[in-house]
Symmetry: C2
Subunit: 205 residues, 2 copies
Amino acid sequence: MAIADRKAKEKDDLKALILKGAKKLFVDKGVEQTTIRSIAESIDYSVGTVYLYFKDKNAILHSLHTQGFSQLSGDFKVLYNVNDPMERLKALGKVYIQFAGDNPDMYDLMFTLKAPMDFLDAINEEEWNEGKATFDVLHTTVKQCMAIGHFTGHKSEPLSFMIWSLVHGMCSLEISKRCTGVNIKNPEHIVTNAYAEFIKLIDKL
Amino acid sequence: MAIADRKAKEKDDLKALILKGAKKLFVDKGVEQTTIRSIAESIDYSVGTVYLYFKDKNAILHSLHTQGFSQLSGDFKVLYNVNDPMERLKALGKVYIQFAGDNPDMYDLMFTLKAPMDFLDAINEEEWNEGKATFDVLHTTVKQCMAIGHFTGHKSEPLSFMIWSLVHGMCSLEISKRCTGVNIKNPEHIVTNAYAEFIKLIDKL
DNA sequence: TGTAAAAATGAACAATGTTCATTTACTTTG
DNA sequence: CAAAGTAAATGAACATTGTTCATTTTTACA
């Protein structure tokens, strides 16, 4: 059955090749330039072939979104070195913000665009595993903060969601260009400055 | 010059009619169903006519976005009755969240979608007056809170942006369906519950 | 080597935003 | 009031998208 194995490998390889082409286009030129035609052309295959390996464009974008979460998980690894939960929480936000700033299109795909969620809907998948795992990193850290006496009187889950929202909101407003033209003195540093306020704030809790 | 006046009025009327049709489509069926053709058809004019009154689709979406800010300003009026700045701040967030929940597509257009900002870029407009005015409502309230002794040690502007981010982030995650499937016990109430944590938090400051 | 299965192709379709030559309606003028 | 000129409206046509599927090409195997 060596031939079948090789064929399976070739299928996997081509699927990976399509994704690689899609990723490069996505990172270099953004979502709207990442068309099925441009993907096919970039890897010298026909449009129809792409559809043999992916159900539709949402499936491709969902795969890219998953790759984004892998990247982000990788970035989170530096947090293993931070022992104090409170310091780890602060660093977590910093890493998250850094990721969003460095990969705005990917961030949008992961946390804003409809495509990945529409894909999950289409395959009747209830869970959003990538988001769940990421939220758990935060939630676990918050619970550890509470275990050593912080955030008394708060509920860990909604508090974690609040923190996620706070950081996501800053990234989202920045990426969608809602910071400039709003009378903010240093719009280029507003996210950093606002996050500094957040740190000041939780240092009191 | 009565004729010219009447003609000017007719131009304004038709422009308003196009917007009315666009608004209805937008509210009823969402952005992607709001096509130039569907707008034209809904008011019994041709596609070409729409382009005589609006430069392109971004111009229409920008007008709708401005209407959204008018709505939101209207909703803010109830805040005039709240004298205590701290209570007003809390109520401001509630009204904002309510607006986003009631008008998710409009909220997306106002705070997430590229179209309105691309329109501003296209006409070389640096300022985002709608956003600016809305941010000022928040910023002013925060400054009033500080004037009566709250948020000591904080800078009003980045703190205001932080609060905006927090509330926007919750709305944004909800609208882009990032709350369900993330292991949250009551995803349908997570925004309300998380905002309650925020209120608990600022009550200490 | 010939045949059946698998893989790849790209023309074709529907829907979109946009343009522009043509037609229609209206205003002004002699 | 009729003709000429101007303004407004039209909708066919174009380019670009995601998507499909009949056809062609390649591969596996007897």
